[in-house]
Amino acid sequence: MDYTNLAYVLSAVLFILGIKRLSSPKTARNGNAIASTGMLVAIIATLISFDLLDYKLIIIGMGIGGVVGILFATRVEMTQMPQMVAIFNGFGGGASALIASAEYLSNYQNNSLSMFLVITITLSVFIGTLTLTGSFIAFGKLQGFISGQPILFPGQQPFNALLAIGIVVSSYLLASGNLDNLNTFYAIIAISALMGITLTIPIGGADMPVVISLLNSYSGVAASATGFVLMNNGLIIAGALVGASGLILTNIMCKGMNRSLANVIFGAMGVPEEASKSSGKQINIKSSTTDEAAMILDAADKVIVVPGYGLAVAQAQHAVREVAEQLEKMGKKVLYAIHPVAGRMPGHMNVLLAEANIPYEQLKDLDEVNSEFEDCDVAIVLGANDVVNPAARHDTSSPIYGMPILDVDKSRTVIVNKRTMNPGFAGIQNELFGFDNTVMVFGDAKEMLTTLHKDLKEL
């Protein structure tokens, strides 16, 4: 009986059960614990069943990695979660590429490279290295080390095409006879690293949720490819699960923005900004104050809060909870409508609101909440713009036409809080602001909500 592989089957089962328990916030924490137990099983099984392991080196490596991991996990702020996931994706991809490289070099020395090994190693090195460099660029953009604007240079697309050809040719050379050509192998590493960079720099900050999800998927695929190199079921199964997860999230993010993956990745290249030319129609807005907003809210029974990323930027999550609690005290029903791309990564806004102790039962996603607006008295839009723009439903000339939006305009009254009249990411005017049932309250979200809270209490 092969106990090591039996242990890998057990850990795969634990991973699957763990993810299954993520289907509800009630069981999710337990699910995470189950998945980490699966990891522990896999590590212990590996440590005891392979001969000639360099334990000293392993302990040093796990010690360093453990400390760094703990520091990252305990220090990171919830707003920085996208950066952290990005950099972790990079480490995962990097680890896979390093393992595959080590396999190549040792088999090279022993003259034991086979066609199958070379193909799987090349795949693992290519995807792993690309994930590593791409993730670090994504990290840099999200953290503000690199400009969040798309970085473009002349001849970018031909250059990328050249890199792609380079990868195909060198992989072919390596696999077709010259299995042990070290220089070709190094060339593959270098080209993969470059591709990770050139494919990520032209993508703007607003599209980063798609990129992180995609890199998440790659890190899983890289682990699977490494599993093929080592003929290890544990890596293959776990990698496939992560690959599938990343792909699903990528798809959800693309749908949330109504864009194809190809458009996100190559969209910024060669296309001049088309946003500015969209309708320059003047809209008349009604500007209002917090005590007027308080009076509108007093007359309401059902209130839906629509938070955008501007809310998190203003650090106003706690202030919004206080307002919501006050409204509930006054006997009103309060819900939160969360658009899929409200944060900087899938599900980000939910985490930011949960951090402010907002109960998860009140957090509703797009599909659940859109029917709720019909009988909603007041929708409060906080720092959100494009995701509530009705033009997405009817204006075929709008750049966001077709994007799924929250139908806030169907509520009786819409209160919109914004810092200024500046347009959103897509750079377009929002007709919602000029609607008869919309009132604008300008100002910083946190200040506005704090004053509103006071006004509500004084009613």
Binding site: L52, G69, F72, M81, I236, Y360
Partner: protein
């Protein structure tokens, strides 16, 4: 090529799609950091590659162990930290 491992790979992808589509959008960030931690399974390969007794490969294995451990430890811990915050009324 061993057809068995390809079978395992393809079935795992299907299982992955089945269970992950059931995760609600509310939990997509923890799903991502948690699956990130699971991709730290590369640590198994990293441990194995330290036994390869050529200098350079062993060093590559060490760096891989560090990277993969960061992924596992950091990933599971931060996921737990987030999930702790999801409370009912």
């Amino acid at each position: 090529m061993d057809i068995n491992i390809l079978t395992v790979f393809i079935l795992a992808i299907f299982v992955g799609f089945e269970i992950i589509t059931k995760v609600p959008p509310t939990l997509h960030t923890p799903l991502m950091s948690g699956s990130n931690a699971i991709s730290g399974i590369a640590i198994v390969g990293a441990i194995i590659s330290t036994k390869i007794n050529s200098d350079i490969s062993t060093w590559l294995g060490l760096i891989a162990v560090i990277f993969a451990t960061i992924n596992c430890v950091g990933g599971f811990l931060v996921t737990d930290r987030m999930l702790k915050m999801f409370k009912r009324k």
